[in-house]
């Protein structure tokens, strides 16, 4: 899923100064799964904003809505009756949702309430960790199903740097496993350590955002 985390309330408040009518929009998909922007978080954030604005001497009316998927037009249409009633929208969907809403309602200010951070899995309750960088050139078949692009701090392709800690954690974060240590362990368990001797050549980055904004066209699906 896409994961994200709330922006500091003060940062959101700073954007709201001068407005009197606000819509807070959540998304019941990824941002709900990672507990940043689902219905529960919308209904938590809205009163917090109301109180903070009140305290600033700038009372604001807030309406709320959580869409099934904020990145899709048909769900965004549910906002149509509400949009004319507000001056500003805070979206706590991922960056895709924020932009989709902004595109649908270009006359209204739409601000993000979340920092979108990664493509991740929930490892444990309350703990999410990156798994994919959408690099556009998947190499998981050669790294025993563990992604060094998303999970190595240096995105190394030919094995671990010298920075693996004694306990197998990454030099950049003592809580994060060195993914190359994990890759080697898995290769060893399968008796295929020698597979990792192959020199992986420089990666082709052009099918990711490095090649310019990504656009995917499927002629067979066009109407």
């Amino acid at each position: 899923m896409i994961i994200g985390e709330w922006k500091p309330i003060s940062e959101i408040i700073a954007k709201l100064l001068g407005y009197k009518k606000l819509l807070v929009v959540g998304c019941a998909t990824c941002m709900a799964e990672c507990a940043a922007g689902g219905e529960k978080e919308v209904e938590t954030l809205a009163p917090l904003l109301k109180m903070a604005m009140q305290k600033n001497g700038q009372p604001i009316d807030i309406i709320t809505k959580t869409l099934e998927r904020q990145c899709e037009e048909e769900f965004i249409e549910e906002l149509t009756p509400m949009a004319p009633k507000v001056e500003v929208i805070i979206s706590i969907a991922c960056g895709i949702g924020v932009q989709a809403v902004a595109e649908r309602f270009p006359e209204i200010e739409v601000y993000p309430g979340v920092n979108t951070t990664s493509l991740a899995v929930r490892e444990e309750p309350g703990l999410w960790a990156a798994r994919c960088e959408a690099c556009g050139d998947c190499i998981l078949s050669e790294t025993f199903g563990l992604c060094p692009i998303a999970r190595c701090a240096k995105g190394l392709l030919n094995g671990p740097c010298g920075g693996t800690r004694k306990d197998g954690k990454c030099e950049v974060n003592e809580e994060v496993d060195c993914v190359w240590d994990l890759i080697v362990e898995r290769a060893r368990a399968r008796g295929r350590l020698k597979d990792l001797l192959k020199i992986r050549k420089a990666k082709e980055w052009s099918n990711s955002r490095h090649g310019g904004p990504k656009r995917m066209l499927r002629e067979d699906l066009r109407v």
Partner: protein
């Protein structure tokens, strides 16, 4: 070693001498005199001098500029080059520029992550964008391509070959330990002519790792120079043992410095002993000495270790 670049370091190694390289850290400012002063102190004690590339992810004078200053002072530089800050265009362009300026040895490194910031002692630039377009093994391949094929990574011609004596690093004692020798093998296959290792304090464990490399025939294919960091105190050793991945310091050594009456004198002795012990390991072809921001101590250490005068070839 098949390379015929003609650098002093290469010639010393090919003649079978025990090589000495020394690290020269560039300043955090732009004053060339800092490097010139170090050159004056270190002249004649090593076969080549490494200039570090924004080590510990702190901005310093570029290794290319530092290497050129050493070159102009008559010292042979080893330009260190990390893949942290430059993509494949910038790396290759700087390599061509370095070569044009007379620099012929290059050490290919991953580089400390930008979050390192000198272990928190300096601010550094932890918010920097992460490049790592290539990894260190791929950078070695790039140098080999420029030298042996006369091609850039893309396959475009460089008109005439750009030969470097290619170096790489080895951290044998970091986990996963059994893979480290395979990673060394990859670097050699990619084209590493010489290797400078992570600092050695635990000679026994280092020796075991080198034996594995020796058994695989790797010590014949490349010249391994053992890294020696001159210790300054028990605290420094303890810090490195706990915080610098791949650096293993035996407890007895920390104890020895802690109990020493004259720490400086004891650290001096330790350094000389380390050089002598790694020298006796089959397959070790030299030492790479680092006295972080205390280079003035190195001439006497090299002399005491009976590594002077350096061969003239």
């Amino acid at each position: 070693m098949k390379a015929k670049i003609g650098t002093n370091l290469e010639k010393v190694l090919q003649a079978g001498h025990f090589a000495v390289t020394v690290e020269v850290g560039p300043p955090r400012g732009g004053n060339p005199e800092v490097i010139k002063k170090k050159a004056g102190i270190l002249r004649g004690i090593a076969d080549a001098y490494n200039v570090t590339d924004n080590q510990t992810a702190v901005v310093r004078m570029s290794s290319l500029a530092g290497a050129k200053i050493l070159y102009d002072e008559g010292l042979e530089p080893v330009m260190q080059m990390t893949v942290r800050d430059r993509n494949r265009l910038a790396l290759q362009s700087d390599l061509l520029g370095a070569w044009a300026l007379g620099i012929r040895n290059c050490l290919c490194l991953s580089g400390d992550h930008q979050k390192a910031g000198a272990g928190g002692k300096l601010k550094g630039h932890p918010g920097a964008k992460n490049v790592y377009d290539l990894d260190s093994v791929q950078l070695i391949s790039v140098l080999k391509g420029l030298r042996d094929e006369g091609f850039q990574l893309s396959g475009d011609s460089v008109e005439q070959p750009v030969p470097f004596f290619i170096g790489a690093a080895w951290t044998p004692l970091s986990p996963p330990e059994d893979f480290r020798v395979l990673r060394l093998a990859k670097k050699i296959e990619a084209g590493a002519d010489f290797i400078q290792t992570q600092a050695v304090f635990d000679v026994q464990r280092f020796k075991q790792a080198v034996e594995k490399a020796h058994e695989m025939g790797l010590t014949e294919k490349t010249a391994i120079l053992a890294g020696i960091i001159v210790p300054r105190s028990a605290g420094m050793l303890k810090y490195m043992n706990n915080n610098v991945p791949g650096v293993e310091v035996p407890k007895e050594l920390i104890h020895r410095l802690r109990e020493a009456k004259d720490v400086q004198d004891e650290a001096f002795k330790v350094s000389v002993e380390l050089i002598e012990s790694v020298r006796s390991i089959p397959g070790i072809k030299g030492v790479h000495l680092q006295a972080i921001e205390a280079e003035e101590i190195l001439p006497s250490i090299v002399e005491k270790a009976k590594l002077l005068p350096r061969p003239k070839i």
